[in-house]
Amino acid sequence: MFKRFTSGAREVVKRAQAEARDLGHGWIGTEHLLLGLLGEGEGIAARALRAAGITARVVRDEIERLVEPLISGPDADALRAIGIDVEHVRARIEESFGPGALERARLGGCRRGPSRAFIPFSCRSKKVLELSLREALRLRHNYIGTEHILLALLREGQGLAAQILVRSGVRADDLRRAVLAALGKVA
């Protein structure tokens, strides 16, 4: 799948994985791809996002607001009151099934077969990566760059990344036009 990805696009995916891990999430969602695009820093996507006023800080804050933890702090306290140490449960589960396993199970994931070594993509982010190929083909590019991933994020339109962009006052059409303008294409 990543065969035609530029080094920048590969960097985005690598960073998305690291972001998911750092946030303790058991999946790589569109929100992590968005952080990956921003973190990559130099690509057309990063520049377009920056110009639209989107920063990693803004995205992280929104993720925190929008992604509810499976068990919140008060939940853990309530469970402790009836003798259940949820952190102990989590530690034992993650020992066997890897970090974020409980959250991943809740989400349903997008995987077939065991895949404990790495954090799997969510269905939506998988879809975005597939769409990035289509965006490249549409533009008659024979590579997939960060700009195609961003265009795909905007086209998919349903994921957390798209929601975060909307909540931050970015209009998908405007951002799409900005990316195409940077590519020297008429929107």
């Binding site: 499976l70 068990i71 919140s72 008060p74 939940d75 853990a76 306290d77 309530a78 469970l79 009151a81 009836i82 259940i84 949820v86 449960v89 589960i93 099934f97 396993a101 409980l102 959250e103 991943r104 199970a105 809740r106 349903g108 994931g109 997008c110 077939r112 077969g113 065991p114 269905c123």
Partner: protein, 77 residues
């Protein structure tokens, strides 16, 4: 146990807010654990019937609850 913790403990164990929150959280934890363990059993090639028996529910129930998304993904590929 200090007096303060003892008091806090006594209060929390009869406080409906705490008790109900614990039940709700436990239910979410349970749902998550069930999804994880069913997935793991499938990865180990357990049949839906065997999983249903282990969970003490009908094969239809477990299949309906856990087989859906996987099949959708399968078709999309």
């Amino acid at each position: 146990m200090s007096e303060a913790t003892e008091l806090a403990h006594a209060a929390s164990s009869t406080d409906p807010e705490t008790g109900l929150r614990a039940v709700a959280a436990l239910r979410r934890l349970l749902e998550s654990l069930e999804a994880l363990q069913v997935q793991n059993a499938r990865d180990h090639h357990w049949s839906w019937q065997d999983i249903a028996t282990a969970l003490g529910v009908s094969k239809q129930a477990v299949h309906k609850k856990h087989a859906g998304p996987r099949r959708r993904i399968g078709r999309a590929k």
